[in-house]
Amino acid sequence: MKKIKVLVNEDKCYLCGGCAGVCPALAIRVSSSWQFFEDKCISCMICIKACPVGALSYEEVAQ
């Protein structure tokens, strides 16, 4: 299991909050900006698939 960091493309993101809704670990918060909490992320990638506009991607981080 690789450890990832989720990245947002701010030009594509609508701040709809869907990614926060499907995240099992409360690792994303969406208000007037998109916030990611790396320490909470469990690298499941559910958010990346769920985004209706494909605004999320990831990069691997060293464990």
């Binding site: 609508y14 709809c16 909050g17 869907g18 926060a20 809704g21 499907v22 099992p24 409360l26 918060r29 969406v30 208000s31 559910i46 698939k49 769920a50 985004c51 209706p52 506009v53 494909g54």
Partner: protein, 393 residues
């Protein structure tokens, strides 16, 4: 600041809870993180016309774009089934105005309302939840409350912070994308739905008319799909030669279509609406269920406050599951059955279905419809189709 109740989220469920509790004479604060309540919309905006009477909401032309007389569904090969009444059966709202007006009704009933107020955490003292911590225009505020209502939409942050389990696997959400655009050639008195595994995996494409030539044109697909909702909607528009040169608005969001929450209350926190996954799993519409749940929740909040017994809140869970639960379970079953259909199955079923069948299916009362379908030769000859239908009985 101290209130009897703080309601987090001012969509559909939140303001109705706030309105009804304020009406009973208790102090309520309704907060929403958005600077403009109702904006942006995340909705196809269609609702049954009966809700105005049922939930005591004015039939105000300021938030009604268009009256609708029925629905037409389309199968992958172009078969259609239509339901058309002589009387108005539904309306296409202007959610930006509707949601704001719902908050206005709450305010008129005595609730305080604060836009641009984001709850960032719960307020805990000696292990007890005492209220919420929020940011209002960058300023930190502590709001003490006897009861906290988590009506904060699909993100469901407040309920989860309180330890209410609203987690659901990604397959229990639809990923949705919508244009409000100029579109012509579709009967503007009906809503239109297209089904097919190539068109919208697990969901459908919709056209909900707001004018003769303007509509919400959107799509919902399973959120665990490899491709995006936007990809499928753009593909559909292209294949149907629908020009996309007059786009007035773009809306994005996730829709719960399952993942029901068994325990809607924990101590003094209650969850309602999208946050509680109280959405019709077949068509993904959540406004009616949100209103219904808000109504039940408000009743038990008032009782709990009157009798100074927060234990009474648990009756909201009980009543919701008694009143709406059986229907929701049936609809979830139907959604799961529909997911198994091939395009050919959808063609066959749409050919066999009449308008009133559609109504029964959307409402989850499908026993007669399924029984009738099972007698049809095109179904009888297919073991698989029979199995899918049998599972529904």
């Amino acid at each position: 600041m101290k209130y009897d109740v703080v309601v987090v989220g001012s969509g559909v469920a939140g303001p109705i809870v706030a309105r009804d509790v304020a009406k009973a004479g208790f102090s309520v604060l309704l907060v929403d993180k958005k600077p403009a309540i109702g904006t942006p919309k995340q909705c196809a905006e269609g609702i049954n016309v009966n809700v105005f009477k049922e939930f005591d909401i004015p039939y105000d032309k300021r938030f009604i774009n268009r009256e609708i007389y029925g629905a037409r569904i389309y199968s992958p090969s172009g078969y259609t089934a239509e339901l058309r009444y002589d009387k108005v059966s539904g309306v296409i709202l202007e959610r930006k105005v509707f949601d704001k007006m719902l908050a206005y009704y709450a305010a008129k009933a005595g609730a305080d309302v604060w836009a641009r107020t984001e709850v960032i955490d719960l307020l805990r003292k000696e292990g007890k939840i005492m209220g919420v911590k929020a940011k209002h225009e960058g300023e930190l505020v502590e709001i003490e409350a006897k009861i906290i209502v988590a009506a904060d939409g699909v993100e469901s942050t407040v309920a989860r912070l309180a330890g209410i389990n609203t987690y659901a696997p990604p397959h229990e959400f639809d990923s949705a994308y919508e244009y409000e655009m100029i579109i012509e050639g579709y009967d503007p008195d009906l809503i239109h739905l297209w089904f097919g595994n190539e068109i919208a995996p697990r969901g459908y494409v919709w056209v909900f008319p707001k004018d003769e030539d303007r509509a919400n044109v959107g799509i919902g697909i399973n959120s665990d799909n490899e491709k995006t909702a936007k990809y499928y909607l753009d593909k559909w528009l292209k294949e149907n030669n629908i020009p996309t040169k007059k786009i007035l608005e773009i809306n994005v969001g996730l829709v719960p279509v399952g993942g029901f929450v068994r325990e809607l209350v924990k101590e003094n926190v209650a969850v309602v609406g999208d946050a509680a996954r109280q959405v019709n799993p077949v068509h993904g519409g959540g406004m009616y269920e949100a209103m219904k749940a808000a109504n039940i929740l408000a009743k038990w909040i008032v009782k709990a406050l009157e009798e100074e017994n927060l234990e009474l809140l648990k009756n909201y869970t009980k009543e919701w599951w008694e009143v709406e639960g059986p229907k929701m379970e049936r609809l979830l079953k139907l959604r799961r059955a529909m997911e198994k259909l091939t395009d050919e199955d959808i063609d066959v079923f749409v050919q066999l279905l009449g308008g009133t069948d559609l109504e029964k299916l959307a409402g989850g009362n499908y026993f007669e419809v399924v029984k009738a379908l099972m007698k049809h030769p095109k179904v009888l000859m297919s073991k698989r189709r029979l199995e899918i239908l049998k599972a529904l009985l």
